[in-house]
Symmetry: none
């Protein structure tokens, strides 16, 4: 099967947004074994877009478009695709109802231009959008198809996974089964070097590494007839990788580090509290992003000022004066102080210089101390991180979570 991809949006042509959708969809099509030879980005312009869809349909079995499904006048992807397919847009009652309920829930007035988001060609396949107001759709004619997805990645990705992916799988006659392994504490090139022989030997399943901020992800993907066959192909490969790479593997089912921590805490019936300086709430926020974290997350203290470190955590003024707020000693007292007053079993702490200013020769930007107080004692790790403020804060949080994960596993 051949596909073409068309990214619609003047804001992409203007360079205002980075087209991550194209990479995401390309990866998914590659995994599905769908060939793709041409990708186009085009503005919100009826004639140019119509020509582009027409040419795509001549060369490929399906043209996948992202963007231009919104309510405004310059959103015209659906109208244009329907023109090319020779179809008329009509109100879809179910979509109209969903749209009204959505606006009512938001306590917002629906303006007339919103209505067009509920219009579709008769007999097209409508793809629900629980994360936005514009549903997607698939229009089919003479064995060819046009699929429309919304532009915002938060809406596009779930719609692709839940609707377009199964559709493509059905058309192509096989499925892809994959599992994602996640690694913290080794770089992408180190991981790739360690498993290079295994990667070279594999054709089904394949192993695809990619890097996320501060961590490495390996996707192991099998082409197969069903999930049971897929699992039988994938599982031994994951086991081999884990044996080679070791305990830096923190998940084999694509879980975030914070999810793994919450799961381990719940299993051990332990609780955690978090004292943050440079990460400023980000570490708490990661834990709270996990549904059901209330079973194990007691509280967080964002003690950004020295005053708050003393008043809330009992860090000694002497420690702050003698060693500074960014020091092993302060990180230790923060974690121990919060562990005591919160009653949590574990307490994490972070203190560091996230930049861009505030660095010195002794304590440069990127210097971060991460502490963990446990019933067995306290550990502090010293980190030298690089990059922008948000990256330094993010990786500091991952280090803290990984310390907690390792303590829970050892325990």
């Amino acid at each position: 099967m051949k596909a073409e991809l068309v990214s619609v949006g003047t804001e992409i042509l203007m360079g205002q947004i980075l087209n991550t959708n194209a990479q995401y969809i390309s990866q998914k099509l590659a995994e599905l074994g769908v060939d793709i030879y041409v990708q186009t980005t085009i503005g919100d312009n009826h004639d140019r877009l119509a020509q582009c869809i027409r040419e795509g349909l001549e060369r490929a079995d399906i043209v996948i478009l992202t963007g231009g499904l919104g309510p405004t006048a310059d959103d015209l992807t659906k109208e244009t695709a329907a023109d090319v397919m020779g179809m008329k847009l009509e109100f879809d009652e179910a979509s109209l109802h969903t749209l009204k309920v959505r606006f009512a829930a938001m306590h917002k007035d629906m303006t007339p231009n919103n209505l067009k988001q509920a219009m579709f060609p008769k007999d097209c396949i409508i793809m629900a959008n629980p994360n936005g107001t514009a549903p997607g759709c698939i229009m089919e004619r003479d064995g060819k198809a046009v699929a429309l997805l919304p532009g915002p990645p938060k809406e596009m990705v779930p719609m692709f996974e839940n609707h377009l992916m199964p559709y493509l799988q059905k058309r192509s006659g096989h499925i892809l089964y994959s599992r994602v392994m996640r690694i913290f504490g080794k770089g992408e090139s180190q991981v790739e070097y360690a498993i290079r022989d295994l990667m070279a030997r594999q054709s089904n399943p394949t192993i695809a590494p990619y890097a996320k901020t501060g961590e490495v992800t390996l996707r192991v993907t099998a082409q197969c007839k069903d999930a049971a066959e897929g699992e039988a192909l994938v599982e031994p490969v994951l086991a081999q990788i884990q044996e080679i790479v070791g305990d830096v593997v923190y998940a084999t089912h694509d879980e975030e580090l914070c999810e793994v921590c919450v799961k381990l805490l719940k299993q051990a019936q332990r609780t955690v509290a978090v004292a943050e300086s440079c990460t400023g709430g980000m570490l708490s926020s990661m834990l709270v992003s996990v549904p059901g974290c209330s079973d194990c997350f007691i509280e967080g203290a964002v003690t950004y000022s020295n005053q708050a470190k003393t008043a809330r955590l009992g860090v000694a003024e002497k420690t702050l004066a003698g060693f500074g707020a960014v020091s092993e000693e302060t990180a230790r007292e923060m974690a121990e102080g919060l562990r005591k007053t919160s009653g949590a079993d574990y307490a994490l702490s972070t203190t560091g210089i996230a930049g861009p200013d505030g660095g010195t020769a002794d304590k440069p930007v990127g210097l971060v101390y991460v502490g963990l107080a446990t019933p067995e004692g306290t550990k502090v790790a010293k980190l030298s991180l690089s990059g922008a403020r948000e990256r330094i804060r993010h990786i500091a949080c991952l280090n803290a979570l990984d310390m907690l994960r390792r303590a829970l596993i050892e325990q």
Copy 2:
């Protein structure tokens, strides 16, 4: 002047790399006022690439290509472009010399395939590549041009800035100037509906709306001869929009809501503290993402459990038992309690049900109370938000920041 962009590389089509070059070049072309209507990504395939260049030259004055300039057999961008332009590749003595010197400096042997990187059509403009082995070039014929840049961003960006940019400026004779206005509290369609007449009347500058999670962004862009002329064209349009749309406009220089809050707090020499339940540190984290926030951000308390709400913020057990943790009363006591103990001038609070579980008929997922305690008194807003857990938390934070912004402006 019109340009087209062609990104060459099978690894982009396969989703193995993210095409950041396209965004970079698009931004630069937009700034230069060079129109770009079509961007294409194509694999390392002679015939498809030749057709793509030919079509591009029919529609545009210049076709800019990135990638495929390397020494390997599948790098064929230069050969293909020369074919389309009817030109022959010959050895360029200066490039050959540079290449030999470079390999000598790297202590590497030059294999025969490296030699092709020193071959160019006679009379083309060669663009030096101090960051790699493959120079770029510009081929001109009949008033049209093809420009070839290397694929790796580290090589492409300096070559664009030092060679192609001056070439394009000379050819186009104008620039684009834009400013970005940001809005919280009205949806994209509402904003666009309110300014539809203004948008329809505008041709220079133009107004382009786009939505981010929970907010709306308007970019106003003028084609002009320099920044001063651009500002003179853009400023009156921004003022007109602000008059129509009102005080939901929170920034006219593309700042985040948290940046605006930190700026206003610093100006007023006021401080803030944050008590979070459902947002779980995200609100603190937004404030801490702003460099220099330590001047005005005192501390955050992530009081996820009822116990922490009582112990850290002094929320009465009676209030929690009588009204529940998610209630106007609790939000009020959280903000007032933290304002008192932290010594901050302002204290924000959030409490709600972020989902996916935990909702009831009375208190559904998405119900959030946001509180603000000020020297003048306390306000609490009740929100009904929709979407996934992270979206609900994010929009709750934006609402809290906007409450603070409004209080600081009124004050």
